[in-house]
Amino acid sequence: GDLEDTKARTAADLLAKPEIDTSDGLRIDGELIAGRKLYQAAKRDTVVLYSGTGQEAEELTVARFETDTGIKVQLTRLPTNKLAERALSEQGAGRLKAGAIRITDPLVARQFAKAGVYVPYRTPFHGRLPEGTALTSDRYWASYYIVNAMGYNSAVITDDPPTGWQDLTDPRYKGKLGVVAVTTGGSVKALAHFQIDEFGAGYLQAQGRNQARIFDSTSTEVDALARGEISIASLSFNNAFAAQAAGAPIKLIVPEEGVAGAPAPLGLTEQGLKSPAARVFANWSVSKEGQRFAASQGFIAARTDIGRVKAGEYQLPPADSPRAHLLNEDQMERYNNADEQVWRRAFDYIG
C-alpha cells in the first residue's frame, strides 16, 4: 500500500540505498547476508518480528529490510514489558509465533534466554561486534543502542539556545523542563546512571528544583516538547529525531560530555531458527547496511566498523567513543536500584 511506499521513501531519505547484489545469494555493500539456498528459502518465508522499540523506528527498519531483501515482515509492536509478558507466556504454552524478537531492555533479554525464548544463534557478522559491551550471551546481541540525549523547542527558545547537560539545571527553564521517569525503560536508566556518575546526585536534584515535569512515556514527552508545552528536555534521541523529521520545531543536542545509551537486544527464537527469513533478518540487522540504517535513525550502531553515519544533521558518537556512555547488562543490574532511589528522591517521584 501507499503507507509502505511512504515508509520506504522515508527510509531512503534517511540513508541512501545500498548496493545490492542478488546474483548469488544476497550480498549488500559487499557483505554476504545470505547464501543462495538460504536466500531462496527466505524469499518464500516471512519474518515474524516482535518488537519493543518505537513503532515508527521499527516500521522504518522493516520497510528498509523489505526493500533491501524483498522478504516480508510481520511486525507485532508492544511496549517491552508487555511484549515480555506475551513472549514468556506464549513460550510457556508452547505457542510462541515470533521468529525474531527485539526489545529495549537487556535484563528482559536475559530472562528470555533463561526461559528459552531466545536460542543460540550467530550471525556471520558476530565477529565484528565489539567484545564485552555487546556480546554477553550466545543467544542475543545488541542490535543497536537506544540513546538519550537532550533537546529543545527551537520555536520557543530562539536566542541563546542551550548547548549542554548543565542547561537542564538553568533556572531560566524553571517549569519548562521535561524528563522521563526512570522506571520507564533501559535507556532512561542509562541516562540516570550517566548523570549520577558524571555530575553527581546534586545534578538531578537541581533538575528537581527546576520543577521538571515528569512524563511516564517518551512519546508524550516529545509531543509536549513539540507543542511547546515544555521547552527543554532530556529525551530519547531517536523519538525526538523522528519528530523533528516530521516537522516538529525540535532541535537536538549531542553534548560535549556525551550521551547515554542502552542496548536493544535482538535474538532468534526456536521458531526463528527454523525460519530462513528470520535468519536473514538477524543477519541483515548486524550487517553494515543494517547497522548504518540504525545509525541514520538516531541510534548508536553496535558495530564500530561501519564508518561515520549521520542522523540528519546530527552525529552521534560511535559505540567505542568515550562520549558514548553505554550501560551494559551487568552494570544495569548492579546500579539499577541505587540509581533509581537517587532519582526518585531527586524528583520526589512515587509512581
Binding site: 503507507l3 507466556s89 523547542n153 511516564d216 516538529a248 512515587i350
Partner: protein, 590 residues
Amino acid sequence: MSTTLMKPEASAAEPQRRTTRPFRRGPGRWTRLVGLPLLAVVGFLVLVPAGFIVLAAFSEEVPRPGSIGLDLTLDNFRVLAEAGVLAAAGNSLLIAVCATVSALVIGGFLAFVTARTDIRCKGFVFLIGLMPLFLPSYVGALAWAILGSPGAGLINTGFRDLGMAGPVNIYSVPGVVMVMAMYYAPYAFLMMHSAMSMMNPDLEDAASTHGGSTWRTIRAVTLPLALPAILGSGLLIFVLIFENFAVSQVLASPGGINTLPTFVYTLMNATPSRGNEAAAVAVVLVAVVVSVTLVQRRVLAKRSFTTVSGKGVKPRTLRLGRLRTPALLAALIYFVLSIVAPLLGLLLSAIRTSPYMSSFGSLTEPGALNITSFVTAVTSDVFVKTASNSVLVSLFAALGGTVLAFLAGYVVYRTKAVARGALETVSMVPLAIPAVVLGIGLLWTWLVMPVPVYGTLWVLIIGFVAVQMPQGFRGIASAIQSTDRDLEDSAVMLGARRLRAISFVTLPLLRVAVSSTFLLLLMLSMRELTVPLFLYTTDTETLSIAIYDQFENGGALREASATALVYCLIMFVLSYLPRRLGAKKGVHGA
C-alpha cells in the same frame, strides 16, 4: 443446611424453618438450577483469568503458563505500604469521587431531559449524550492537552493572541476531573435514559398532586426510582475512573499529580516487571469492588423499583416551559466541551504541518496547513485491516456481551435460582481488576486453554465479553428491576413458555435498555485498548491499537490525530445501528 441434618434435635425446635430450606430436593429445582450453567460460563470467562491474578498476587514468581509455581508469599502486599502510595490513592479517590458525581450529574441531566421533557431538539440532545462515547478517553485527554495545557494549549494561545494571560490549566485536579467526567458521563446517560424512559408518569403525577414541586418530584420520585441505574452506573464510573490510566498519564502526571493508576502502570512497566505486586494491588481493588457491589445489592434489595406495571404506562412528557432554552444551552455547552472543541483541536493538529503553534495568526502562513495526513491515514493497508477487525470484533463482542448480560441480569433479578448472588458478584469482578492486569490474566487463560482461539479474532471477542461483563450486566439489571414481573407472568399464564414470555413481553419492554447496552458495549469494544494489547497478533490488530501506537510515537501527532478523527467517524456511523433499534415506538413517549 448441613448442620440441620447432623443435629436433628436442633431442627425439631424449629419445625417451620426446616421445611423452608432452599436447596433441598425441592420444588422447582430445575428452575432453581438455571443459574448454574450461566454461572459456569461467566465464571469461566471471568474467574479463570482472575484466578491467575490472585495466584500471581500470592506468588513469588509470575505464574505463567509452563511455569506455574506454588511458592506462596504475602510479600507482594507490601507494595501497598510503599511511600507515596497512600497519597496517590488519596488523589485518585478525590478525582474519582468528584468526577463520578459530575458524570452522574451530566448524564442524569441529559437522560432526564431527553427521556422525560419537551426539550428543544430532543434527538440532537440525545446524540449529545451519546457522542463522547465515540471518543476514547485517552484521545479526549490528548485533545484536551492540546486545547488546555497551560503553556501551549490552543485556548491559552488564543487568549494570548488577544493580549490576555492564558487562564486555563488542564493539568490540574479540576482539569482531570472535568475530562474524566465528560467522557464517562455517557455511561450514566445511557443507563439512566433507559430507566427514565420506562417510568410510569402516574408515580410522578402522584408526587406533584401531593404538593411536590417539579424539582422535589424529581428528587423524591424520579431519581430514587432510577436508583438502580444511578447506583449501577455510579459504581461503574467510579471504578473505571479510579483505574483510568490514560487520562491520568496525559493530564495528571504533567501537573505533578500522582495517582494510583500511574502507580500500577509503573509497577507493570518496571523492568523486570513487578507483575506480582500489580496483581496484589488488583486483589485489593477486587475486594473493594466486591464489597461495594454487595452493599449496593443490599441497598437495592430493600426496595422495589418497579415503574412499568400492568396498570399502564401512559406516555407523558414534562413541560420545561421557560427552561426549554436554558436546558438546551446547558446541553450545548457540554457538547462543545466534550466533542466540538476536542475534535477541532484534533483537526487542527491533523492539518497543521508543524505541531507547534505560536499564535493563531501563524496558521495563515503559506504551507501551514494541509490535509495529506488524512489521505495517509485512511488509504493504508493497515488502516483498512485494523478497521475491519475492530468492527467485526466489536459487533460480535457487543452481541455476545448483551446476550450474556441479559441472561445473567434475568437470572439474578427475576428467578429464585441458587447462586444468583454469586452470579452477580462474578459478573462485577472484571470491573475491579485493572485492565492491564486482567489483560494478562486473559492471555494466560487463553494460552493454556486447549481450544484453538489464541491468535484469532475469537480470543479478542471472548476477552472483550469478559472485560465488559460488568458494564453490560449493570445496564440490563437496572432495567429488569423496573418492570413488574406480573407482566411476564401473565404471558406464562396464557400458555407461553418462559422463554416465549420473555421474548414477547420482557425483551420488548426492555428494548431501550437492551439496545443502549448493546450500543455501550459496541463503543467500548471499539475503544478497548489494553486487553487487545496482550491478545492481538499482526493479523488481528485493531484500530484502537493502531491509533495508540501512533500516539505512542513521538512526532506522529498529525497522523494520529487524523486517524483518531476517522476513528470517531466510524464509531459514529456504527452507533447508528443500535440507535435505530432503540428508537422504534415503545412504551415511552418520544
